[in-house]
Amino acid sequence: MLDVLTGFVTELRAAGLPVSMTEAVDAAEAVHHIPLEDRQALKYALAATMVKSSAHWKAFDTAFEVYFAIRPPGATAEETGAAYGDEQGADGDEMAELSGAGRGRGGAGGQALSAEELAEMLFRALKSANDAQMAALARQAVTRYAGMEPGRPVGGTYYLYRTLRNLDLDGLLRRLMEAARQEAGGVLTPLEERLATDEFRSRLDRLRRELEDEIRRRLVADRGAEALARSVRKPLPEEVDFMHATREELAALRRAIHPLTRKLAVRLARKRRHGRKGPLDFRSTVRHSLSTGGVPVDPKFRYPRPAKPEIFVVADISGSVASFARFTLHLVYAISSQFSKVRSFVFIDGIDEVTRFFDGVDDVAEALHRINTEADVVWVDGHSDYGHALTVFWERWGEEITPRTSVLLLGDARNNYHASQAWVVQELRHRARHVYWLNPEPRAYWGTGDSIVGEYAVHCDSVVECRNLRQLEQFVSELT
């Protein structure tokens, strides 16, 4: 057990979780107090002692499933299918049918179930929310569709994709909804419709998880835990690269932005209250001196007036950095209550002010959508031209920049070999309080190809690499 545990801890650390020595010892101690045959209890015990942030749960979950996977009993896929069929044969009529079909065809050496049978039974299992049967069918589906090849060094996403494509979950959802409607006598109220959809979605999600688990189990059996753990390792949410995030990761990042801004706001408010004290508050000092017989023992000070900086955000929203710019706009707007004035501009080769899209809008996502569709940012061909965009910015809005303004420039400075017009940034620097440049590219790529970030960098207060949430958070906390 200790060997497995040390291997597991090593894997967690490799995945980026900060597991300290004492925590590992705690985990070992905790394992003594739980029944080892209870896999779920083991999981919670390890999580409670070693995972100290909810954002790390997914990484832990993946590693756990790999390291403490249930080994499938059979050696080959067909045998496995039949064995499972036998095991759960007592699960009612449908199960008997399933295992019967499995055995019959398995004996003949062919496929366990035909595609139509499988789809039909899956449909019925989903409709009646029969978890045991769903798990059995997931195994069948993986056997049939995933086409797993032993020894291939992949993480399983490919197999999952193949299985899902064949199962056609969207089609299943439609059929399920159809069935629900018929049961209700033809028509569902909008509310019922919505609830039914959500219910079936969650069942389909469960099916997807079953499939994932099954594929992972087989991969572990094939290649061993350590090899697989390496290939299924994913970056932690705060380290996901903005530029290369998958769709699910993007959604997760968007959800993470909100608590992040709350944290920042709290930190800002605190800094103000506990920072440098203002001038002596005479009235309060005298009032408090009464408790010490009129001797002003404890002088009171006024709180300093908060300095509310103005912020101008100038963001490149061309294809190459679009997702990054969206995030930053998200963030800037979420903390805009902290600043007296936030104005935002977006550009590709033309530039447009988009502050108005945020005014009086509660929903940032909607504002972003309007920016993407309505803002006038294309001048010639829709390829980034920093030089032109900056010149226009200077001509139209340069006057409004004051010594209280901080200018944030967001982009990768890949200028398609246009003129840089770096003098604009120099002028900005003269007039504004600070000029910062956030670059979503890895530092190693700066200045390669058509990247001219170096030309602008000499005029900026600082140029910051900003590729993930952690770096973004760090920058904003230093800014304020």
């Binding site: 107090h33 109220t189 909008p190 959500d198 709350r262 929903d363």
Partner: protein
């Protein structure tokens, strides 16, 4: 002051010996919590069980209104312990959290010394008239002059105790350090008195709303429990046990609608306590089964932002168009 723990605080592996276990198994924790009206899942029960066995504090984190504080209360109920609560806030310091010298009483003592010839003080420490400064100092820095605050009280208490340190993320990073000695060694050092050890290791729960990252040092000393919004089945069960007179059908509908709402992008998701409020509202209104109109009319119990309300109302009826297009 050193309690009976002196010889047993370090076990074979350097862990504090937890004393007689409060629970026999995870299943027992779960049953007892269920019986007390707190529906736990395996994770919650498992962590409570471990906290008891390992004598470690539990750091409970999660969105507001998912039953973090309630868990500590439930555990104190099922273990027949006293609940000592330390509500954290900005500016909390050791005189509010640990202990304080009762300086008024100390002053009085000194003045009494000067004035009264034959003092009849209820201070048992001396023969009644300490003449030297040293004797006086020992006298006024003794237990009768000590005001215990929640942390010290939990440590000194001889009865079983559950200590709840609520919203620990509200104190400053520096103040967090105050907690460390109590949480890892269950002792408090008072310079004038010496070290106070726990007579009996209390169960400790810390809750956090995650408004800031807690320090590594604090996290390391705790077991971590993340309380998220409950699953559909659990929420339904919670509604059924906590709302008297609700029908199974209504409870099911309530839980399902709340789940749907949580899939939307809202400013603030409905919490479990708000779900319960909503269910109670519906019961009071005599609703048997919810339709869209009733849902919309009472949504303000669940959602507290205007934009959230509008969005939810829209989403609950938008399904119509997407549904009919699927037809």
């Amino acid at each position: 002051m050193t309690g009976g723990e002196g010889d047993t605080t370090t076990g074979a592996l350097g862990f504090p010996e937890p004393g007689p276990p409060r629970f026999a198994s995870v299943a027992e924790v779960r049953e007892k919590l269920d019986a007390s009206g707190y529906l736990a899942d395996d994770g919650i029960a498992g962590v409570v069980h471990l906290a008891d066995r390992l004598a470690k504090p539990v750091l409970v984190e999660g969105p507001a209104g998912t039953g973090k504080t309630e868990l500590a209360k439930a555990v104190s109920r099922i273990t027949d312990s006293r609940l000592i609560r330390l509500q954290c806030y900005e500016g909390l310091d050791e005189s509010k959290a640990l202990y304080e010298w009762n300086y008024r009483k100390q002053l009085l003592r000194i003045q009494a010394q000067q004035l009264v010839d034959e003092p009849e003080l209820d201070v048992p420490a001396t023969t009644g008239r300490p003449r030297t400064w040293k004797a006086l100092e020992e006298d006024i820095f003794s237990e009768p002059f000590l005001l215990t605050r929640p942390l010290l009280e939990a440590i000194r208490c001889t009865d079983p105790v559950v200590l709840l340190i609520d919203e620990v993320d509200r104190v400053e990073l520096e103040t967090e350090a105050l907690l460390l000695e109590v949480l890892s060694d269950y002792q408090v050092s008072i310079p004038e008195l010496g070290t106070v050890r726990a007579e009996r290791i209390p169960m400790v729960f810390l809750t956090s709303n995650n408004t800031r990252e807690l320090s590594e040092a604090l996290k390391r000393r705790c077991l971590y429990l993340h309380l998220d919004y409950p699953s559909l089945e659990r929420e339904r069960a919670i509604v059924r046990t906590r709302v008297p007179g609700i029908s199974d059908e209504l409870a099911d509908q309530v839980a399902r609608i709340v789940r749907s709402l949580r899939t939307l992008e809202l400013k603030k998701y409905p919490s479990v306590s708000e779900t319960l409020d909503w269910a109670r509202t519906l019961v009071v209104l005599g609703v048997q089964s919810i339709d869209a109109e009733q849902a919309k009319a009472t949504l303000h119990v669940l959602l507290k932002y205007r934009s959230d309300l509008e969005r939810a109302a829209k989403e609950l009826s938008v399904a119509e168009s997407s549904g009919s297009s699927a037809l």
